[in-house]
Symmetry: C5
Subunit: 341 residues, 5 copies
Amino acid sequence: MTVSYTKKVSDCKGFGSFWRLLFRWRGSLYKLVWPDTCVYCMLYFLCSMVYRFGLDEEQRRIFEHVALYCDYFRNLIPISFVLGFYVSVVVQRWWEQYLSIPWPDSLALLCTAYIGGRGERERSIRATVLRYVNLCCALTFSTISPRVGRKFPSYKELMEAGYLTPREMKVLENQRGRSSAALTTLPMMWACKVVEGARTCGYVRDDHGLRLLVAELMALRDKAGMLVRWTDISIPLVYTQVATMAVYSFFSFSVLGRQFLDPGQHYTNRTIDFFVPIFTLLQFVFYMGWLKVAESLVNPFGEDDDDFELECILERHLKMSYLLGDVTPSDDPLAEDDEDD
Amino acid sequence: MTVSYTKKVSDCKGFGSFWRLLFRWRGSLYKLVWPDTCVYCMLYFLCSMVYRFGLDEEQRRIFEHVALYCDYFRNLIPISFVLGFYVSVVVQRWWEQYLSIPWPDSLALLCTAYIGGRGERERSIRATVLRYVNLCCALTFSTISPRVGRKFPSYKELMEAGYLTPREMKVLENQRGRSSAALTTLPMMWACKVVEGARTCGYVRDDHGLRLLVAELMALRDKAGMLVRWTDISIPLVYTQVATMAVYSFFSFSVLGRQFLDPGQHYTNRTIDFFVPIFTLLQFVFYMGWLKVAESLVNPFGEDDDDFELECILERHLKMSYLLGDVTPSDDPLAEDDEDD
Amino acid sequence: MTVSYTKKVSDCKGFGSFWRLLFRWRGSLYKLVWPDTCVYCMLYFLCSMVYRFGLDEEQRRIFEHVALYCDYFRNLIPISFVLGFYVSVVVQRWWEQYLSIPWPDSLALLCTAYIGGRGERERSIRATVLRYVNLCCALTFSTISPRVGRKFPSYKELMEAGYLTPREMKVLENQRGRSSAALTTLPMMWACKVVEGARTCGYVRDDHGLRLLVAELMALRDKAGMLVRWTDISIPLVYTQVATMAVYSFFSFSVLGRQFLDPGQHYTNRTIDFFVPIFTLLQFVFYMGWLKVAESLVNPFGEDDDDFELECILERHLKMSYLLGDVTPSDDPLAEDDEDD
Amino acid sequence: MTVSYTKKVSDCKGFGSFWRLLFRWRGSLYKLVWPDTCVYCMLYFLCSMVYRFGLDEEQRRIFEHVALYCDYFRNLIPISFVLGFYVSVVVQRWWEQYLSIPWPDSLALLCTAYIGGRGERERSIRATVLRYVNLCCALTFSTISPRVGRKFPSYKELMEAGYLTPREMKVLENQRGRSSAALTTLPMMWACKVVEGARTCGYVRDDHGLRLLVAELMALRDKAGMLVRWTDISIPLVYTQVATMAVYSFFSFSVLGRQFLDPGQHYTNRTIDFFVPIFTLLQFVFYMGWLKVAESLVNPFGEDDDDFELECILERHLKMSYLLGDVTPSDDPLAEDDEDD
Amino acid sequence: MTVSYTKKVSDCKGFGSFWRLLFRWRGSLYKLVWPDTCVYCMLYFLCSMVYRFGLDEEQRRIFEHVALYCDYFRNLIPISFVLGFYVSVVVQRWWEQYLSIPWPDSLALLCTAYIGGRGERERSIRATVLRYVNLCCALTFSTISPRVGRKFPSYKELMEAGYLTPREMKVLENQRGRSSAALTTLPMMWACKVVEGARTCGYVRDDHGLRLLVAELMALRDKAGMLVRWTDISIPLVYTQVATMAVYSFFSFSVLGRQFLDPGQHYTNRTIDFFVPIFTLLQFVFYMGWLKVAESLVNPFGEDDDDFELECILERHLKMSYLLGDVTPSDDPLAEDDEDD
């Protein structure tokens, strides 16, 4: 589930509210970074042991020179700049992907306004249109989200969940040869046919209504199509590799370069021996954490703590369509108002 | 209340106008930063006392080495870069959230143009539509803003404030089982039904009018929905934690690292002893202030001085709907113009 | 008046064209920065005099240590980063505010196409609608621009300038109790009523025309409302204070820190005594100039050289409305073309 | 083919998922950078050989001074800044170009809704309109993508692929004298005529339908035109040259400057001789890789691994149009639903 | 003419494609930077000569101190930061200005669909509307582009080029007293009148068509107006001056500061004398080139190699209007198709 903490930080009185966020585990820096940090520490202390106990005096002098060399020259790796620009591209794409998720609320309002009757037939039309929209969402989400994909591995599960009638399932299966893009478009074409038929039969009150409904279906289809494209077109691999390699090589050299050296040798800034490299670990946590921001956002429909929960959104969409089809006169504050006129 | 100072800085003659802003308290850097600064100073002077009076000569030498080490290596923490990119993401989201606040002025113009009569019935239709819009705003705002939430903890208060009729309240209460998203959509569905009914009865002058009204209601609903989503989907927690920890760890190490050391030891750049670490404090204030910019903007509907005042906006919306329903012939400059024709 | 130099830099042959811009005074760096620079120089030379003539040998040594300390540590202030991000936020807002200025040209085209007759009545309708738009602009501009506010301190001046009829003024005065937002909306509501009435009487040729006109009026109202909101919601005060204090504290410490010290003491990079601190002054001019960019753009409707001239735009809008109402058959190249058909 | 890896990085459990991307070859950093790296190594080791074996003692001292000089002063080249800003401009344009690719799915929905019949004539109209859209895409793509250009070097191939009838080919050939922009517009003009004719004959159900169809054709034409313009208007050559020269000159000086010098001379940070300049190579790979990001994205319709595959998109569009024309009653879940009413 | 090289860089196989761009002259860095570089070299070598041959021993020591001082302190000028942010603002505006150029292709499609007849009258209407659009473009372009301005210095030339009839010229001349904004709006008002008249006479097929045509004319007018405003509202002069002065002062101090000093004096990093300051020149070329990017893009309608060629676009628009008016039945693949129905 998306980690939502905005309400916890509604004011910054006293010492502010961000420090409280530091004690969270779900979706946190610690949770993401601890395995890498463990490996890093292991490597570090291995080197440290070798240096302290496994080398004779002369070998230690050589080790020290190599360490100083690594420490100095790893700074040639432009890690801040590359990460900064890369992460800002990823964060921007992350949010735009969120905005591409189709949301059927506007369609519900349109149905209320233009397919407004309380008869059985009108309800069925509204329900069918929304069902097709939900079907399109479900088909789309199951190609981009592994979780939804596991929930609906085939049309059968979709049928059981009420997204498909057996007849529709058969049609979709006949089309299996076609591209998947066409398959997600089909339900929207059916929805268009339904509203067009409803207009012909007079259930849609005027041509403007038909037009608004069709335009909204087009907009929803566009968003669904865009979602797939976001997933198909990744950030160019080169860019991701440059950022990843920068971080990894920076820290693999720091294993050597940031060893505590014999203070007796009086190397610059090496006058003290702490055993535990606090600052190096902090630096590791920050840069690696920054990279993890990118890793968890680059596919926001995955299974990270911070990814968008498409299966919840799907369920919400279903509920919305029930609401629309269900509203009975007794639930409707306007029922009598209208009669007053 | 939002701190508005744009009008005070309308020109930059003489010494400019920004220096005058430095003497403000509400929403100011000082107000946000002073508790942290106090704690920081306390810790700093505690360390200082220990160093100056609590240690013997040899312990002081060790302390000095630790201090120099902290001072040098805290610069490995990429605080500027992380904060710069983080704050610019936060500021951008802050403004986009402001733009998501629904504003019923356009709807008011539409009502004037298309539900234009001066009769009792037309007025009531206009008032009802705007009331539903206000109700939707109130329901939405009360979920995202603690202040509005306290003002309207339940439907009863909304009814007393005139947003709900008792009948509508009952309908809403019947739906309590449903998701809250559906609840905020309901009033808009009612509004759609009202305008559709009004068109059927001829109070809306043409089909274009109905369409514009429905489209505007959809747009308002979209904005209200977007507001909730802005709050649900926070900036990924990792990113916030990276920025926060960078600042906090940077300054916790500076407590040791920026101590004034014995000038007699001739450490580089440590040739003078001021007792009060002016530059360190300034640096603390700037970076912590920059972080506070993020803290106070990350939830712009909270209770900070600089947050948007949703309760004022709600009141303003109410007044606008009165204006629309109220305008009597004697207030209307066109009353006679029309008769001239 | 806005300083417009784009046409002067239409090519960059030879030595380019930007160097020519350095010799301008209106809206220039020099004009904005000279008072601060003078004060800065005064303080600098005061310190310089004290150091050179007012202190004995031992005091000068202490002064030198303080100066070196200030020089070194003022670099802890993250001035470039803070200013860079802050100014880019300000520049973006500046341009978006410009784009929010309402422009009635599209409305004029719509009137031409849909309220097209040459009769007295049609002309009067066109003129009235545009007058109301101009009135809305004038009311809005007078709340955000001090210059327009001085020109039209009350409704009386607006009436004298032809924006208001005495009757309308009375209506507005009756509404004085209401919020100002409602007041700027009122003229647009009148305009909507006028076009609706015109449609009823057949002066607007079809329902599409009415719809386009109402939609355009809504768009203009939106822009006018947005203008006010840009002014109400300033960039958070904390952000502005951080940027301002960074610059000011940076340079107040440089007064001490950049003094020319006795070359005889052989401090690093202090081997020469110029009396006039050229580089420090340049640095002052650049950073202070960068801050002044922000100061003059943060309120683009103020009285700086580079602010948008709302009073000119108002006059231009008026002329446009005259053009629209005035065009006589003899000015119209289509007059006879139409007859040919 | 575009390198798509988003699905491989759906979560970042354990050690995250980015390290797995480091072992890819297609579209990878290694594939792009290896030729440059080889040349760079060759030059480096040539210099190294000359220095180690080809020079006498005195010449080596001079060589060392030149090397130190190169090493120090190449840092004057602002490579990070220039590359950072340049690459972020390129990445932004790359994505906007992707968004400009015309996509006929919405048109398909519109046809379904408004040209809905199952008769021969309706099918033919739908197929023709979509064929013209595909033709416009094909003509546009063949001017911007070398691959599509090779596939369709002349109208004959387009005719054979079914985009053109012989008659249409003749018309296009008659227009050969005209600008190519006009040629890509022609099919859209035909499509407009087809839908207008269809409306006249009653195959388009209402005027709203005609309007939506024409508006969608305009939008598709706009996108196709925009695609061409993205290609015509490159990022200013100067900017590209500055970024390229910065990288190239930086590394040509590092061939000399980063040589391992005789440790016996005790130059700062030159105390060790590794023979293989690991850090210099890493730095080369990162900066050159960053430049390659720009090189492969600056023309996203080219033949790089990461370029958009316009020929696949064209084929997909064709399939979509078949789907639309083909749907037979037996495929249509609504066929009987409608009869039920 | 705009320098278009996108097609040359369609792939980055082998050594990539950017190095090939380095050998171009039109629109290149070299072409823009060589005059400044020459002057810079002259000044540099003048100083160099004075230092080497014109000073006695003591004066040279002073010169050296001044040089070291200049070299060290010019780094206080924040040139990278200021240039980076400034250039990114300029590049963004440059592209948005390109997008503001009006393009009549959509209007052409609309005319085809809605004023579709092949009669003399319909053709004349289409041609007239497009002529007015072209006239609006020509009037607008001639105020912002010096080249178009020279081509059409007065209405007479426009008339001769076929944009104006003598009658229309007279009307425009009568309006000369009015603001130029009004003048560019007039042709669009005429165009609106023409389409409105055409609708009245039945040449436009329905009200939707009239609406789309008027909306498109409004959009074109908006773009034309926006073009003028982009030129009127320059980037604030202060910002441009700060960036320019930063570059110029940085390099005027480097004339002194980067002189090769007597290696015999053993100043740090001054151990070698090359006579030709390669790195300083490279640095000059990069920063000056970066500034030239800004200089050539700040007015993209000027006469630089890389500016948009408005006169070509004008001609293209003319051709498009001929195409639209000209298409004869024999050119029309649908001519017989229609008859088949």
